[in-house]
Amino acid sequence: MAKKKEKEAIFTPIGIENGKNGQVEKSVDLPDPTDKSHKDLGLSDDDVINMFEQMFLQRRFEERAMQMYQKGKFGGFLHLYIGQEAVSTGTVHALNDDDDIITAYRDHGWGLMRGVSAKEGMAELYGKATGCSKGKGGSMHFANVEQHFWGGYGIVGGHIPIGGGLAFANKYQENNRVTATFFGDGAVDQGALHETLNMSQLWKLPCIYVVENNGYSMGTAARRHTVNEIHERAKGYGMKSAVFNGMDALTVYENMKEIADEVRKDSMPWFVEIRTYRYRGHSMSDPQKYRTKEELEQYQKVDPVERMKTYLLDNKIAKKKDIEKIQERIEDEVLEAIDFAEESDFPGDEALYEDMFADTPHFHDRK
């Protein structure tokens, strides 16, 4: 045992099990959702029904994927987006279809919202040739570039400057597209963010940098890994910023729409913190000892999918029967996706050397 001094130098703030200052105060502190109705926001009944369907699809896709993973149907990492679906859903409705989106490895929901079918998504998880990235990427690398979803990336913070680069090219080509770059609270600590924010403000890049603050970076509460309020980082760059509730799709829609409209007008970047929560572990091997059951339950009470369902029912936009029908249809869609993934072929051996080069391929010492 090391000798204990009266006052030991301590570096990282101490966490949940060892003291009080590790609690996820920031995430607990969810800003209020919007009190506007979907009509106030310019959304039709069909739009919000659609939002519910999409959120339910993301949820069921991942719940089933988790089951298949546990059955050993596929390997690798599996980071679930469950709990955060309002962010992808509200955002994609707020942006134009040709606005660009890029995100980290927690990317299934984003893919499903941007044209990756449940079949192509599930097949990618299985590493099949029919997957959205031909089985080359797996869970962390969903993408649909044709529909301006530039993919999921596995190096924390690595894709933040790339988001800036997408915006740079849009400005260069004067096409009036907005880029939205999503990353976790953990990625805020990477130097790449600092460099990118500075250049984005300096060069007036039409990009929205969005932190999906889900309270944790793996097993580390936001409070223990980053200082101050995240959204206040923007001040240092003189950048416009916002912080809002990410458990309500309408709130996300309202804010992202206003911000995107403004970016389109003045080509100035934004730094946005969306507060949300991940219900599952960081990935499949996480025992989740860093949080309490009570905390998790508190957030499950504001489940974004349930919330939208209640909204549809309360406002008589859909009847219970309609909802059940939608749910059944999506349940089938996901089950069909599993069949499709299971029945699809793995890539052939020749695929190992495919997709490496756009120009003349070259492989050192290939036998």
Binding site: I10, G138, F346
Partner: protein, 327 residues
């Protein structure tokens, strides 16, 4: 001898060195309260407290550099990377600073720091999580690179690394952490950096392999023994400094050599060892040296492609059959 898991051997080495020297501390992502992403540092927080077992943000460049500065200023940091695949972000501190500062300043300071963590691939984790970096770091003057294959090597070498007054990269593997092996229970067990080991004796062919590849070589050797081919396995254990003498000695006996290297083929351990063999043992060779490496292709996710990509025992057997003209 005690039977220990790889992770326990690493932990014991850190534990013993932390107990021995108050200047030694550990920092990295999830090393403290989570007890290590791969439970390598389990129990160290309880024993040494928050001052010496420090959770860092995901700021590889920053905390690697803070480690280098702390090392210059009198401490002996152990910096854990969740994998060396993420240490790419810290490469500036390792390559431009840890390895060069002493020389640039005419020897006025030291950088006694250990960068450690898993290296290379660990199953289907995709292109950005699967690269072997041992050969790359060995390119740079001023760095030692260790990639042990068994718990005993890990313990003795890590203790040496922590006591070394220069920057050392110590590489592990997610897939080896649970692997058990006999570890010397000699008090203060130290293995000098730069000494290889004959892990299996044989007369017919020398196979050079370290880290995870040693186990592939061993599988191949067991298989080949059934066919009457006796493989001598040399585990250099440290990529740099490299124990080329031990390899050359073995080749003088076997006259044939296969190198198994987890890196891509261009300019890696295999190419360097191959070059040195032709220079030092040209007259002893009965066949051109062969190597088994990754192909010059990124890691694919899909299981069958991944299996095709990663060196396996069959490829080693093929190479041995080629150099022994049994093909």
């Amino acid at each position: 001898m005690a039977e220990l898991q790889f992770r326990e051997a690493i932990r014991d080495a850190m534990d013993e060195e932390m107990a021995r020297d108050e200047k030694v501390f550990l920092m990295g992502e999830e090393v403290a309260e989570y007890n290590g992403a791969y439970k390598v540092s389990e129990g160290l927080l309880d024993k040494y407290g928050f001052k010496r077992v420090i959770d860092t943000p995901i700021s590889e460049l920053g905390f690697a550099g803070i480690g280098v500065g702390a090392a210059m200023n009198g401490l002996r940091p152990i910096v854990e990377f969740m994998t060396f695949n993420f240490a790419v972000l810290a490469a500036d501190q390792i390559i431009n600073h840890a390895s060069k500062a002493r020389y640039m300043l005419g020897g006025q300071l030291n950088t006694p720091i250990v960068f450690r963590g898993p290296n290379a691939s660990a199953g289907q984790l995709g292109a950005t999580h699967s690269v072997a970096y041992d050969s790359m770091y060995a390119q740079f003057p001023g760095l030692s690179v260790i990639y042990p294959s068994e718990p005993d090597d890990a313990k003795g070498l890590l203790k040496s690394a922590i006591r070394n007054d220069d920057a050392v990269l110590f590489m592990e593997s997610e897939q080896m952490y649970g692997m058990k092996g006999e570890v010397s229970d000699e008090e203060d067990y130290i293995i000098p950096i730069g000494k290889g080991k004959i892990k299996r004796e044989g007369d017919d062919v020398t196979v050079v392999a370290t880290g995870k590849m040693y186990h592939i070589a061993k599988q191949a050797a067991n298989q080949l023994a059934k066919d009457g081919v006796e493989v001598e396995i040399i585990d250099p254990r440290t990529i740099k400094p490299l124990d080329i003498e031990l390899i050359v000695e073995s080749i003088k006996k076997t006259n044939r050599c296969v190198i198994v290297d987890e890196s891509h083929p261009f300019g890696g351990l295999a190419s360097e060892v191959g070059f040195l063999i032709q220079r030092e043992a040209f007259d002893y060779l009965d066949a051109p040296v062969r190597r088994v490496t990754l192909p010059d292709v990124n890691a694919p996710f899909s299981k069958p492609l991944f299996d095709l990509w990663l060196p396996d025992a069959k490829q080693v057997i093929d190479a041995v059959n080629t150099v022994t003209y049994r093909n």
